[in-house]
Amino acid sequence: MSLLAVEGLSIAFGGLRALDGVSFSVEPGEVFAIIGPNGAGKTTLFNLIGGLYRAHSGMVRLAGADLTRLLPHERAARGLARTFQNLQIFFRMRVVENVMVGRHLAERRRLWAELLGLPSVAHENRESRTRALELLAFVGLAERALEPAANLPYGALKRLEIARALAAEPKLLLLDEPAAGCNPVETEEIDAVIKTIAAQGVTVVLVEHDMRLVMRVSDRVLVLDQGRVLALGPPAQVRTDPRVIEAYLGRLGRERAHAG
């Protein structure tokens, strides 16, 4: 059974069909990339899978369970985690606390015990902190754990979001442009992080503009264009698909020819 199944997903914003009958499935343990020109509907697709938007039609299944009508926090409880293209950091909290919030679902929360500061709460806090520090070490932010998150540079915040998402111990991790705005060194670090995550058995779906990163890490690539699936297959096959070249370069080349 595929881990993620998207069937006929459609949504329109004021008459504009942002996604039009998109279907695909992602197998467990796969690194699956979604690419496409700007405005193709990549982030919209992520927001539909994550539950931030409601689909007008179609279905999203995770490990066989229908997610379509669930709220974002309910989808998280089913094993879905994500990062954001435009960062969503808890800026008033410390770096390590950002990751500890990622452990929310694993933490036992009983208001009475928490108000009274019972030993079980202190134990829970210690456990969350230990796990968060491990994850920060994994993304290379261990030394900055106690700083306010607002102190970190952009590339580090990208990795902080990955650590926070991993803290939820997801089955499926959605990465929205993990390398956007990162320099080549940082991109390579992200590359290594994605490979390690996949090696640990977490299925990864990523939206990314950096084609070299996509070709290096992905098992399969889905190409979206104007809200529809244009191509789907292994990186080498997609790269040489004439329709993909048309969508990315052809039109641009033609426009340039016209302008010139």
Binding site: A76, L80, M93, V101, E114, G117, E124, A168
Partner: protein
């Protein structure tokens, strides 16, 4: 014990030291009464600080919950012959239930809309208290009998100083514990990004409701204490001005800070007393001081001063 645990203990120890030292420095009955008022206001401000500072939600009608606590404590013995302390407990439960009931629809609102909705709630409670004259005594207020506990009459400024001070210590301890817990982290998280909190599994609506109820319970407890201490309650306790005062205490003390709520409550309770020497300009001077505090310590007194002190240590002038 972690860094958070040590910080918690240090804050509680500092508050305890202040509580013990003040009666030695200012032993007069008047000073003790003012101090007891400070502790009561600080409890209400503390609840609001959890709502505003921790979770980033606003309530402009919080005195309404204070009014419910105060009037329940006053009216229980008068009309139902209940024990005042039992009535206080009833008031706390009633305020919590009202917050639970009203909170669900209004906490969906954000920013200005939430502010106006909570404002309406406060005005509604005030209106009921003013107009239900046969039950509440209306604008004239209502008198309370002297509180007796196990045959011991609780009277005198010293006794009430101790009761309110111990209550504040308890309220601060509970708030500090909540801040340093999974629920506290979830509340701080949704303050910064509701979307990011939701996608890691935080039920944002439920957590907002929870902290709203906690804040209402704090306010109702403070209101009930005030009724017992003052032995006379008027609708002012639930009035709009009181709500604004509470918000000002939280903002001026420093929104994200539990110590700030106590400092803000102290300032806004003591200053009007101290400023009486300005006679008719009293309110003008108070307003001016609030503006100056906001201009020069924008983050609030406690975080603002903390930042100043840290800056001083980093670069000794």
């Amino acid at each position: 014990m972690g860094a958070n645990g040590r910080r918690k203990l240090a804050l509680l120890a500092a508050l305890l030291a202040v509580l013990v030292a003040l009666p030695w420095l200012f032993p007069s009955a008047f000073h003790l009464r003012v101090a007891a008022l400070v502790w009561i206001n600080a409890i209400a401000a503390l609840g609001l600080a959890l709502l505003m500072g921790l979770a980033g939600q606003v309530s402009l009608g919080h005195a309404g919950f204070m009014g419910i606590g105060a009037y329940a404590t006053a009216l229980g013995p008068k009309h139902l012959g209940l024990d005042p302390l039992l009535s206080l407990l009833g008031g706390i439960v009633a305020a919590g239930l009202l917050a639970l009931l009203v909170g669900r629809p209004i906490l969906r609102l954000k920013g200005h809309y939430l502010a106006v909705a909570t404002l309406g709630l406060g005005i509604l409670v005030h209106l009921v208290i003013v107009s239900e004259v046969p039950i509440t005594g209306g604008p004239d207020g209502v008198q309370l009998p002297r509180l007796e506990l196990l045959g011991w009459r609780l009277a005198g400024p010293g006794t009430w100083y101790a009761i309110t001070g111990a209550s504040l210590l308890l309220a601060v301890w509970l708030a500090l514990n909540l801040e340093d817990s999974a629920t506290g982290r979830a509340l701080r998280a949704l303050h910064d990004s509701e979307i990011a909190a939701a996608v890691v599994g935080v039920d944002v609506a439920r957590h907002k409701l929870l902290v709203f109820v906690v804040a209402a319970v704090y306010a109702a407890f403070a209101g009930g204490l005030f009724a017992l201490f003052n032995r006379f309650v008027t609708p002012d306790v639930a009035g709009f001005l009181r709500s604004i005062e509470l918000v000002t205490m939280v903002v001026i003390g420093g929104m994200g800070s539990i110590a700030g709520a106590v400092v803000g409550a102290a300032l806004l309770t003591v200053l009007p007393q101290a400023l009486t020497l300005f006679h008719e300009y009293e309110h003008a001077v108070l307003g001016l001081l609030i503006i100056l505090f906001m201009v020069f310590l924008r983050q609030g007194i406690v975080p603002g001063l903390a930042a100043l002190v840290r800056g001083r240590f980093r670069s000794p002038a």
